[in-house]
C-alpha cells in the first residue's frame, strides 16, 4: 500500500530530477563561459540543440537501418518500428546512446570552435547580440529541414537506451540515476577546472585588461577553449534530453531556454558553481509550482496559460538580482570588505596573477625555443 503510493510519485520525481540535471549541465557550462571566462554565450541553447539533433538523427537513422525499416523517416509507423527494435536489441539501443553522447559532445565542441571565431574578435556586447541570434537562426534552419528532425512535427521514436527494461518504474529510475551521475560528474569536472590555475587565468582575463594584455595571444586561445568545452557540455545536455523525451522538435530550442539558464546563473551567483546549483534548483522548483498541473492540483483556475507567468517571473528575477544583489545568492569571493581593503586585495591578486602569467608565458616561450 505504502509502496504503491510511492510508486505513483516516481514519474513525477524522476522527471523533476532529470530536468534539473539537464538544466544544471546547461547552467554549469554557461557559468564556465560567462561567469568565469566572461564570454557571453547567450546562444547556449543552440549548442544544446546540436547535441539533441545528433542524438536524434543518429539513433533514428541507425535504428531504421538495423531494423531494415521502410517506413518514412518522419512517420509514426517508423517510430513504432524503432521502439520495437530497440526493445528487442538492448545492446544496439544502449550502444547508440553511448555513441550519441560521444559524437554529440564532439560535434557540439566543433560548433563551439566555430562560434569561437567571432568570439575572439568581437566586443562582448556585439558577441552577445550575435550569439543570441545564432540560437534563433539554428532553430529556423532546423524546423525547415525535414531530413534533420522532421521540421515542425519533430522526430519521434528516438528510443531510450533502457526501453528494453519492462518495468516502467525501474526503467525511469535507472535513466534518472544515469542522468544525475552525468550532472554530478560535470559538476566535479567544471569545479576542478575553475579551481585549477587555468580557472584563475580565466578570471584574470575576465577582470583585468592588463593581465589580458600581458597574456597577449593567449587570451583568444583561452576563450576559444572555454567555448569548446562549454558547447560540448551543452551538447551533452541536449543528448540526454533527447533520450529522455525520446523525441526532438526544433521549436523546443527557443532563445528563451538560454534566458532561463542565464537566470539560474545570475540568481545563483556568477563564477560560483555551488551558487549555480542552488540557482538551478530554485528555478526548477519555481518551474514546478508555476505549472498548469500544479495549479490544477491546487484547484486554482486561471484564465490564461500559466507558463506566461513563469516567464514574467524569470524576467523579474533577472532584474531584481542585477539591481539589488548583483553577486547572486552565493557571491563569488569571500566576505566583502570595505572599499579600500578590497581594492588593495584586488590589486594584489591581480598583480600576482599577472606575474604568474608572465612567468607562465616565459616558460612556454622558453620551451618552444628549447
Amino acid at each position: 500500500m505504502q509502496l504503491d503510493f510511492l510508486l505513483n510519485y516516481i514519474p513525477f520525481i524522476s522527471s523533476f530530477l532529470i530536468l534539473f540535471s539537464i538544466y544544471l549541465i546547461m547552467s554549469l557550462s554557461l557559468n564556465l563561459e560567462y561567469g568565469y571566462a566572461g564570454v557571453p554565450n547567450f546562444g547556449h541553447v543552440f549548442f544544446m540543440s546540436i547535441g539533441a539533433y545528433v542524438a536524434g538523427v543518429l539513433t533514428a537513422r541507425a535504428l531504421d537501418f538495423f531494423s531494415g525499416s521502410t517506413a518514412g523517416y518522419c512517420s509514426g509507423q517508423a517510430a513504432n518500428i524503432r521502439g520495437d527494435f530497440a526493445i528487442a536489441h538492448p545492446e544496439i539501443s544502449m550502444s547508440l546512446f553511448v555513441v550519441s553522447l560521444i559524437l554529440g559532445a564532439i560535434i557540439g565542441g566543433l560548433f563551439g570552435y566555430l562560434g569561437a571565431y567571432p568570439a575572439l574578435r568581437l566586443k562582448e556586447d556585439f558577441l552577445a547580440i550575435t550569439l543570441i541570434f545564432i540560437g534563433e537562426i539554428g532553430r529556423i534552419i532546423a524546423r525547415n529541414e525535414e531530413w534533420l528532425v522532421c521540421g515542425l512535427t519533430g522526430l519521434t521514436g528516438v528510443a531510450n537506451p533502457f526501453k528494453w527494461i519492462e518495468n516502467v518504474h525501474l526503467r525511469s529510475v535507472i535513466y534518472t540515476a544515469l542522468v544525475l551521475v552525468f550532472a554530478a560528474l560535470i559538476y566535479i569536472y567544471t569545479e576542478r577546472l575553475v579551481q585549477s590555475p587555468y580557472g584563475r587565468l580565466l578570471k584574470s582575463i575576465r577582470d583585468d585588461e592588463i593581465a589580458a594584455m600581458a597574456l597577449g595571444k593567449e587570451v583568444p586561445k583561452v576563450r576559444g577553449v572555454v567555448l569548446i568545452i562549454g558547447s560540448s557540455l551543452a551538447a551533452i545536455a541536449g543528448v540526454l534530453r533527447t533520450f529522455y523525451l525520446q523525441s526532438v522538435v526544433a521549436d523546443d530550442f527557443l532563445p528563451l531556454v538560454t534566458f532561463i539558464v542565464l537566470s539560474m546563473v545570475i540568481l545563483g551567483g556568477m563564477a560560483n558553481n555551488k551558487g549555480v546549483v542552488l540557482g538551478t534548483l530554485i528555478m526548477m522548483v519555481l518551474d514546478m509550482f508555476i505549472s498548469p498541473s500544479f495549479f490544477a492540483m491546487m484547484g486554482v483556475i486561471v484564465e490564461f496559460d500559466i507558463t506566461y507567468l513563469k516567464y514574467v517571473l524569470i524576467g523579474v528575477i533577472i532584474i531584481l538580482v542585477l539591481m539589488f544583489k548583483p553577486e547572486g545568492i552565493v557571491p563569488e569571493g569571500p566576505v566583502r570588505t570595505p572599499a579600500v581593503e578590497l581594492s588593495m586585495q584586488v590589486e594584489e591578486e591581480v598583480e600576482k596573477a599577472v606575474q604568474e602569467l608572465i612567468e607562465f608565458k616565459k616558460q612556454k616561450e622558453g620551451q618552444s625555443e628549447g
Partner: protein, 239 residues
C-alpha cells in the same frame, strides 16, 4: 592666506573601488595660474577630473567660492563657472567645429552675447572659422587642441582646468598654446594646469604643486621649485 577660488581638502579619490589619489590638499588662487606637475601616473589628471566630479571621491571636500561642491553633478559645476579641457577626447568628433563651439556655450542663455563671443573666438582662432563646417574629427592635433580650448572658453568659465594642453604637439603649436594661456589669465580667468613637462609649466605658473604616487609631495611658487635642488634632482635630473 591668499584668496583661493577652489580649495581641495584632503581628497582621496579614484574609480570604482580603486584609489588613485590620496589626501590631496591644493589651493587654486583666484586670477593666477596654478600648475600641477609630476610623472606619468602620479594622479594629476585624476585630480583634475575630481574637481569636475568625474571620479569617485572617497574622502575630502572640494570648496568652490566657499561652497562645498563635492557631491555636485559635473554638468552643474559647468554651469557655476568651471571649465575643463581634457587631455584626449576633448572635442565631439561627429559634430562640426561650429556645433562644437555651440555645445561649449550650451548652458548659456545670453544668445546675443554668445554670438558675439563666437565671432571673437573666430578672430582669435582664425583657423576655426575656416573649418567651421568641417567635422571636428577631421581636424589635426593642434587644431583640435585649439578647438577644445575655444569650446571651454565659450562657456565663459571663471576657472579653467587644462589637462596637458601641449602634449604631443609640435613645438611651434606649443608656444602658441602657452601664449593663449597667458592671454586667458590676463582676461581674469583662473587657470589650473596639469603638465608633465615640469620646466615649461613651472616657468609659467604662479604656484606649483608636485604630485607623485597619488600624493602632493612638494609645493611652492613655480620659480622657487625650479631653483630647489631637491626638486631638480628628483624630477629634472633624470632628463
Amino acid at each position: 592666506m591668499a584668496d583661493a577660488i577652489i580649495q581641495a581638502r584632503g581628497i582621496t579619490a579614484g574609480y570604482g573601488k580603486a584609489i588613485i589619489i590620496q589626501d590631496v590638499n591644493i589651493d587654486i588662487e583666484r586670477g593666477k595660474i596654478t600648475a600641477i606637475v609630476g610623472p606619468n601616473g602620479s594622479g594629476k589628471s585624476t585630480f583634475l577630473k575630481t574637481i569636475f566630479g568625474l571620479t569617485r571621491v572617497f574622502k575630502g571636500q572640494i570648496i568652490y567660492e566657499g561652497r562645498d561642491i563635492t557631491k555636485m553633478l559635473p554638468e552643474e559645476r559647468a554651469r557655476i563657472g568651471l571649465g575643463y579641457v581634457p587631455q584626449v577626447n576633448n572635442v565631439f568628433p561627429n559634430l562640426t567645429v561650429e556645433e562644437n563651439l555651440e555645445m561649449g556655450a550650451y548652458a548659456r542663455t545670453d544668445k546675443e552675447q554668445v554670438k558675439a563671443d563666437l565671432e571673437e573666438i573666430y578672430s582669435v582662432f582664425p583657423i576655426l572659422r575656416e573649418r567651421k563646417k568641417q567635422k571636428a574629427g577631421s581636424l589635426s592635433g593642434g587644431e583640435r587642441q585649439m578647438l577644445a580650448m575655444a569650446m571651454a572658453l565659450m562657456g565663459k568659465p571663471r576657472v579653467l582646468l587644462l589637462d596637458e594642453p601641449a602634449a604631443a604637439l609640435a613645438p611651434k603649436v606649443v608656444t602658441q598654446i602657452f601664449t593663449k594661456i597667458k592671454e586667458i589669465v590676463a582676461s581674469g580667468v583662473t587657470i589650473l594646469l596639469v603638465e608633465q613637462h615640469a620646466k615649461r609649466a613651472l616657468n609659467l605658473c604662479d604656484m606649483g604643486y608636485v604630485m607623485a604616487g597619488g600624493r602632493v609631495v612638494m609645493k611652492g611658487p613655480g620659480k622657487e621649485l625650479l631653483a630647489d635642488e631637491k626638486f631638480v634632482e628628483a624630477f629634472l635630473g633624470k632628463r
